[in-house]
Amino acid sequence: MSTQQETFEIIAKQAKIDIDTIKVESTLKDLGIASLDAIEVIFDLEEHFDVTLPNEDTDFDNGTVGHLVEAIDRQLAAKNAG
């Protein structure tokens, strides 16, 4: 399974939305995930992939789900390189 697929599944589960409504260009805000729920989504992703996402990679208002996937991939690559 790809990072994107896994990320979408985690977001869908946490936000209780249909996975088909999630697009790469959606922001968490667009998906109706606000405030603490958004922080929880990030936490779930960090736990699932065992990575730490810096604050600047998790802009809930402007950052898209695509950006999140890229940020996770960057952390995974860094982890595997280390």
Binding site: S35, L36, I39, I42, F43, T52, N55, D61
Partner: protein, 403 residues
Amino acid sequence: MRRIVITGMGAICALGNDAASTWKAMTQARSGIGVIERVPADQLRAGGVVAEIKGFDPTSRIAEQRAAMMDLAGQYALVAADEAIAQSGIRFEGENASRTAVVVGTGASGEATRDDQYRRLYADNASRLHPLGIVKMMINASASHISMAHGITGPTFVVASACASSNHAFAQAAMMIRSGLVDAAVAGGTEACITLGTLRAWEAMRVLAPECRPFSAGRRGIVLGEGAGMFVLETLEHAQQRGATILAELAGAGMSSDAGDIAAPSDVGAAAAMRAALRDGEMSPDEVDYISAHGTGTQANDSTETRAIHQVFGEHARKLAVSSTKPMHGHALGAAGALEMIAVMGALREGIVPPTLNYLEADPACDLDYVPNVAREMAVSAAVSNSFAFGGLNAVVALRRWK
């Protein structure tokens, strides 16, 4: 209605170990924020930046036996209360003891004690814990020690509303004095939250930043601080009878609850508390010269607070000086309103408004006069101090210069 005046103040925070040095640092635009020393900085994200109190020796200011029974939160509260009581000259003999209240605002207290206990229990597998753990970490300890150290026997308790705790404490003290229940109160707030456990918990909320720049473009969040501010409040009559020096008048207090989100701020709730404080203090919005803002440095708080100020003050909002002293003493959570009261008292008494440090440039969502980076000399005859808490709990106090 009984008028309430302030006759003593005390403080300890990253800016100084007393009220005078704290205020002086505020006028000089100094910051107490830096890299943490209590915990290895590499155990924290964002460089481990906090506003720590350094070089505090509790036994130099508190009897050794008492200090040993106290968490830092209690020690901070007691030294600030001692200072305020000494300045005010108030005595608690005879009936005065039972006619005085102690109200301390605090969000958590006892964090260092809790951290130590649980490290011993879970990490060191200790077979026994220190017997004073409970009396050190109980949230009411700071109020109890102020009462015990000074023989104050009136209503004594702690109020907890996270970052609004101190202002809620001032409000409770004011209501008790006005109702005739007591004639005086020692009121303020304390917090000692600079521990690995607390910092990691705040980190997890993604609100900590490597710097604090309220209302500015490029702001990224809060920097935690610690400390205490304590004040002596009494009726005007009580103060005049004993020939006390009056520092300022506590005109009113307003409280509200957002009944909305557990973390996200609300302009409606903030505006309601400001309006309530003005109404309670019989103060028209146009009278206010200075607002000591909650101004945490998060994206959400600062734009929301700005909107709320516009709603309450209308045209007059643009004429207000609005500043946040959090870039100097950090966000001290339950003690925030008490430390910011030092800023308000100084502004009223000396005609200097402390600045909002680290201000880079305007954010379109924050379009007021935030007194950027440099203190300003201006006459302040009335001021408002805002505190808005997680959980949607808001408390605002309104003060007047004493002429």
